[in-house]
């Protein structure tokens, strides 16, 4: 499963402060630590309080690329900020994200085509967040169809079924899990699936436990990527173990360490 490290986000106090004061070592430590913990992609988000998101995105990417060359997920609601990042990334980027609204998709898929980027597509639109697997599937199909129209490959898409906190939207968890399975039937090659994992435990107790249990269940339903905190060792251990049970990697006694060494 593709691990997308979520920690370089301006909404976290330390990162927000680092962006303002240009504390490059804070950002670089976060980048290296997340990669060493098993991230194959790093999410980069300037945060909601950034006064100059375009400059901040540029600075974050430049700082990160000095210490690691893993691909980056450019996380912003503004296409011009994303484009600023696309201009300077060294590896193929993932655009995080577009909704299922036509106008937004058109802007984002145009960028994706010009810059050869992959795209995370959220199964939500102006009407809001879906409340059933059927709605999610409908929006997912729309995203895949639009992407193909723009000349993108379905397997360069990561469809996000919108994970909601289990304390306030408890019936949705199972809808999300079923959606993950169903999205894979939308095309051949199938689109990737992704979740913003931490959302499931937003506001709950025992957040780590909730996160890793949900992730294990999602992996069992065929999830191919997740945006999460890779420094949560038990979370990564659970993911590696889930994949072992699904026969994705050959067992050896050091299977947990082996994942970190690969």
């Amino acid at each position: 499963m593709i691990v997308i490290g979520e920690l370089i986000n301006g909404m976290y106090k330390d990162v927000g402060k680092a962006i303002v004061n240009k504390e490059i070592d804070v950002i670089q430590h976060l980048a290296v630590d997340q990669v060493n913990a098993g991230s194959s992609v790093l999410d980069v988000n300037t945060g909601p309080y950034s006064k100059n998101p375009k400059d901040d995105m540029k600075w974050l990417i430049e700082s990160i690329q000095k210490v690691t060359d893993v691909p980056l997920a450019l996380d912003s609601t503004k296409p011009d900020v994303i484009e600023e990042g696309l201009k300077i990334v060294k590896k193929r980027a993932i655009i995080n994200s577009t909704s299922a609204d036509n106008e937004k998709m058109e802007k984002i898929f145009t960028l994706a085509k010009s810059y050869n980027a992959q795209v995370i597509g959220l199964t939500m639109n102006r009407s809001g967040v879906p409340n059933s697997r059927e709605m999610r599937l409908e929006l997912a199909a729309a995203i895949v169809a639009k992407a193909v129209e723009f000349g993108l490959n379905p397997d360069d898409l990561f469809i996000d079924p919108i994970v909601l906190p289990v304390n306030v939207a408890q019936p949705q968890a199972i809808e999300v899990l079923e959606s993950i399975r169903e999205f894979r039937l939308l095309s051949d090659p199938a689109p990737n699936t992704v979740v913003g994992l931490s959302n499931v435990s937003q506001g709950t107790k025992f957040r780590s436990l909730v996160n890793r249990t949900f992730l294990t269940m999602a992996v069992a339903n065929g999830l191919t990527a997740a945006i999460l905190d890779p420094l949560d060792k038990e979370l990564i251990d659970a993911m590696v173990t889930a994949e072992l049970i699904l026969n994705k990697n050959i067992y050896c006694d050091s299977f947990l360490d082996a994942y970190r060494k690969r």
Partner: protein, 308 residues
């Protein structure tokens, strides 16, 4: 109706291991697909046959081998030279049988001397394996390693319960290592990790999944090798090592090879070797020169270097 072949494209590849240090050095590994499936990938280095020699006369070897090798078996230096000049060996595998407690119990310094003489006179890259007795091997192999420092030998054999001494010595003297597992892909992977944890470059490991003869469980070895290879092509770096198989020593133990005449013995060795090549064998250590010749021809044909 034309049939569209379903072709796999893998992301992973097998590591390349070089043996030897001069212009006679050889390479194994590097495959990007299953054996000989050139529609799907490449085999930049063809599988190799090494001829097995021992550092003392192997009096218990069967008649078929004795008549093929004759008096040269009495003098390891001559035997090595004959393998290269007459039998065309590009790699030799030297077994230190003389140091085994059940053998002549040659003292370490004399054993090392013999290795150096053989290496100097043969002029080809060498694989050196211990006697199989852990205690005496732990004493002698480091000395051999040191004496051949810088020559990039392939040294064996490390097992899960006894790998530290050999790994440390290969690391110190710049040799590659044979990592052996008992027909168990999980242990094979674990041993590669353990060796790597000692600071040894995993790309210099050659795996021995254990060898068994035709009729004695060869299929199990085949299935382990296949599983490991597929995992390697799916990106498992801890199983991306080339394979060595000791075909000669396993085959010539069994009655079907020993007791029914040379032709059957040779066929037994050839059939075992062919099967293990199809499983992904990169370096086959063989005994009978005629069997080795046939396998070399087989490899040439399969690699498209000559017509069938």
């Amino acid at each position: 109706m034309p049939i569209e072949l379903v072709k796999e494209r893998y992301n992973g590849s097998i590591n390349v291991v070089e043996i030897g240090s001069s212009k006679t050095a050889v390479k194994i590994g590097g495959e990007t697909t299953l054996p000989f499936l050139f529609e799907e990938g490449q085999m930049p280095n063809a599988p190799l046959v090494a001829l097995e020699i021992q550092d003392c006369e192997p009096v218990e070897w069967p008649d078929a081998l004795k008549s093929a090798l004759g008096d040269s078996m009495k003098d390891p230096v001559e035997w090595a030279k004959r393998c290269v000049s007459e039998f065309g060996a590009k790699v030799l595998c030297l077994k230190l049988q003389s140091i085994h407690p059940d053998s002549e119990k040659r003292p370490a310094n004399k054993a090392v001397d013999m290795v150096q003489k053989i290496y100097a006179s043969s002029g080809v890259p060498m694989v050196v394996v211990g006697s199989g007795d852990d205690e005496v091997d732990s004493d002698v192999l480091p000395k051999v390693s040191q004496a051949l420092k810088g020559e990039n030998i392939l040294l064996g054999i490390a097992t899960q319960t006894n790998y530290k001494t050999l790994t440390a010595t290969c690391l110190a003297d710049g040799h590659s290592i044979i990592a052996e597992s008992p027909i168990d892909v999980n242990i094979a992977k674990q041993l590669n990790i353990l060796i790597g944890d000692m600071g040894f470059d995993a790309k210099r490991i050659v795996m021995h999944p254990t060898t068994t003869s035709l009729g004695y469980g060869m299929e199990y070895v085949y299935s382990i090798m296949e599983r490991a290879r597929l995992a390697a092509f799916m990106g498992d770096k801890m199983l991306s090592m080339p394979f060595v198989l000791f075909v000669g020593s396993e085959v010539w133990k069994v009655k079907e090879a020993k007791d029914f005449g040379a032709a059957q013995g040779i066929n037994w060795e050839v059939t075992t070797a062919v099967s293990l090549l199809q499983a992904g064998g990169d370096l086959l250590v063989m005994r009978h020169p005629d069997a080795a010749k046939t396998i070399n021809r087989y490899i040439d044909i399969m690699m498209g270097r000559s017509a069938a």
